[in-house]
């Protein structure tokens, strides 16, 4: 079922996992330097559920690049009393996750799990995790988050969701999926292009660009009620929606007054006001986490570059100066840096720049890599890439060490964006 292939490339390790039944297959390239060895024992009772919860947890932890999985090799304790620590110490594992899972009569999935410190022989976590509607994966992601948080000290992002556009021939689908690409849900499917999905800060709505009216118009759609509304549908193009951190404003790009300029409006389309006045292309606005300033792409300097301006208005300052052009800036969750797509020498690189020092660093080796966005914990960056002639989703750790490719089953995956914590 799960084939793990280790190939040592210098200090890098190449891990390939493929899941036959999965809509996406995942390939992890590179690894963190200090991986924590952990063992995830198959949960008791999961044979009745049709999905091995430990595989969900294992997949999540592997993709983070921070863990090394140690095979339980036949041992399958489910309770703390059944754990014989020396067995695990011998294997070199440092942390051990065990537990049981069951489906309740009402469809709720309840897992009781423990994380044990093999070295100190103490229990780190003992907790019940549950989810309704038979959502075994949701339970697995939550457990992976708890393990990740306990062992790395950072907030986990496995329970968060991502949105992207899948293009298959002339059919475009707006898809929301788990952070590992599973559990795909089609939000919108049509014969006209869809672009630029953008999550509301509370994760309840998606704003996006649809061409269903014959030209680019901005829609806002509830992910719960599926109600949707065209909030910007003026002549020309209406695009690049971006939510303010408080969710009360939407920045959009309109061409109704001439060239592409940035406007602010309420998410229902009201109170529109223009905030850039360049006469050039100003697009791809992105609010800073404090909501005070905004990054955007502009060609006012003759080539596309990243600029920053106060949301209240004022002069824009150019931030990118490397050869080539720079697109699609997004703030890191801590507001200290931004990630963007850098086109140089015919290749796109996902690059990170520090606001304070102005230092730029390419996180990827370059290729057809576009549209980066941070995971809410700032540790991973999701972007659109290409492999084997298809558009795929990929992630890279914010230190550039761990890369991961996700292959959708068919078509081109594009325009990905990582959603917020729910």
């Amino acid at each position: 079922m799960q084939k793990i292939l280790f190939a040592v490339l210098g200090v890098l390790m190449l891990v390939h996992t493929s899941m036959a039944r999965a809509a996406l297959s995942i390939e992890i390239i590179g690894a963190g330097e200090h991986q924590i060895p952990v063992s995830i024992v198959p949960f008791g009772g999961d044979e009745k559920l049709g999905l091995a919860i430990n595989e969900v947890v294992t997949g999540d932890l592997l993709r983070s690049g921070l863990f090394r999985l140690v095979d339980p090799a036949g041992k399958s304790p489910h309770e703390a009393a059944e754990v014989h620590y020396p067995d695990w110490q011998v294997r070199g594992t440092e942390a051990l996750a065990i537990g049981t899972v069951s489906a309740q009569a009402d469809g709720r999935i309840v897992a009781r799990f423990r994380l044990l410190d093999v070295v100190k022989q103490v229990e780190l976590i003992g907790q019940a995790v549950s989810a309704g509607d038979g959502q075994i994966r949701a339970v697995g992601h939550r457990i992976a988050d708890l393990i990740y948080e306990k062992l790395t000290g950072n907030q986990g992002v496995f329970s968060t969701r991502i949105a992207y556009v899948n293009r298959q021939g002339k059919i475009f689908s707006l898809i929301v999926a788990d952070s590992d690409g599973h559990n795909e849900q089609i939000v919108l499917k049509q014969n006209e292009p869809i672009m630029s999905p953008s999550w509301s800060p509370d994760g309840s709505h998606l704003a996006y660009v649809s061409f269903e009216t014959g030209h680019a118009a901005v829609f806002v759609q509830s992910l719960y009620t599926h109600q949707r509304k065209a909030v910007a549908n003026f002549r020309g193009s209406n695009s690049a929606p971006a939510w303010s951190p408080d969710g009360k404003q939407l920045a959009v790009v309109l061409t109704r007054d001439g060239s592409s300029q940035i406007y602010l409006m309420r998410p229902d389309g009201g109170e529109i006001r223009r905030i850039t006045f360049s006469g050039a292309i100003d697009t791809e606005p992105n609010f800073s986490p404090d909501g005070q300033s905004m990054l955007f792409t502009s060609d006012r300097g003759g080539s596309a570059q990243v600029y920053r301006m106060p949301v209240a208005g004022g002069a824009a300052q150019r931030l990118t100066f490397a050869a080539g052009s720079s697109y699609s800036p997004r703030h890191s969750p801590d507001g200290k840096s931004f990630v963007f797509a850098h086109l140089s020498g015919g290749r796109f690189y996902i690059s990170l720049q520090d606001f304070q020092t102005g230092q730029m660093e390419a996180l990827t080796e370059g290729g057809w890599e576009k549209k980066p966005s941070f995971a809410p914990n700032g540790r991973l960056i999701l972007f659109a890439s290409e492999a084997r002639g298809r558009g795929i989703l990929a992630t890279v750790s914010s230190d550039g060490r761990v890369k991961q490719h996700m292959y959708t089953q068919s078509g081109d995956a594009r325009e990905p964006v990582w959603g917020p914590h729910l």
Partner: protein
């Protein structure tokens, strides 16, 4: 067949205009003249060109060209394409019932959003020229597809050069 009928009507009309027949009242030729003008908007140019074919449908006409091409990251109409745009402007100014939609496209270099903006700038540039050339604002509409509807899908210049264009799409 239809063209032939229009030709005959026009020829008759010219003959009638130049004819010496004093009995013909102005009302008789006026009716076909008015209807010819309404149903065949190309009357004026057709008269001048002594032909009744809508030049838009003439494969040998410059108007048969419906695309303007650009270098990378450029939105200004290039000199080579200006006669084409001018011809369409002249056609639209003579045929005020015809509407055209300018559809801007880009190659895949640049972000999708940037390319949407660039495609719009390309389409709007052609629209501006058509206006300057005599077309009415109401006849024109512009949209951008950015890099979303590529004609060629390769990652090389031969594909890209085909995708960097504005199409003039006449309403049927």
């Amino acid at each position: 067949m239809k063209k032939l009928v229009i030709s005959i009507v026009l020829v008759n009309l010219l003959a009638a205009c130049a004819s010496q027949k004093p009995h013909e009242t102005t009302a008789v030729p006026a009716a076909p003249a008015a209807s010819a003008a309404a149903t065949a908007p190309a009357t004026a140019s057709a008269v001048a060109a002594k032909t009744a074919v809508d030049p838009l449908n003439d494969p040998t006409s410059i108007l048969a060209g419906r695309s303007v091409y650009y270098p990378f990251d450029v939105a200004a109409v290039q000199d080579a394409d200006k006669p084409l745009v001018q011809a369409h402007a002249a056609y639209l100014s003579k045929n005020t019932a015809r509407n055209v939609r300018l559809e801007g496209n880009c190659d895949e270099r640049g972000s999708n959003e940037y390319n949407l903006a660039l495609g719009q700038r390309r389409a709007d540039g052609v629209m501006k020229m058509l206006e300057l050339g005599g077309a009415k604002t109401g006849q024109l509409d512009s949209v951008s597809y950015g890099e979303e509807k590529p004609k060629a899908t390769g990652h090389e210049e031969s594909s890209w050069s085909q995708n960097r264009r504005t199409d003039l799409n006449y309403a049927k």
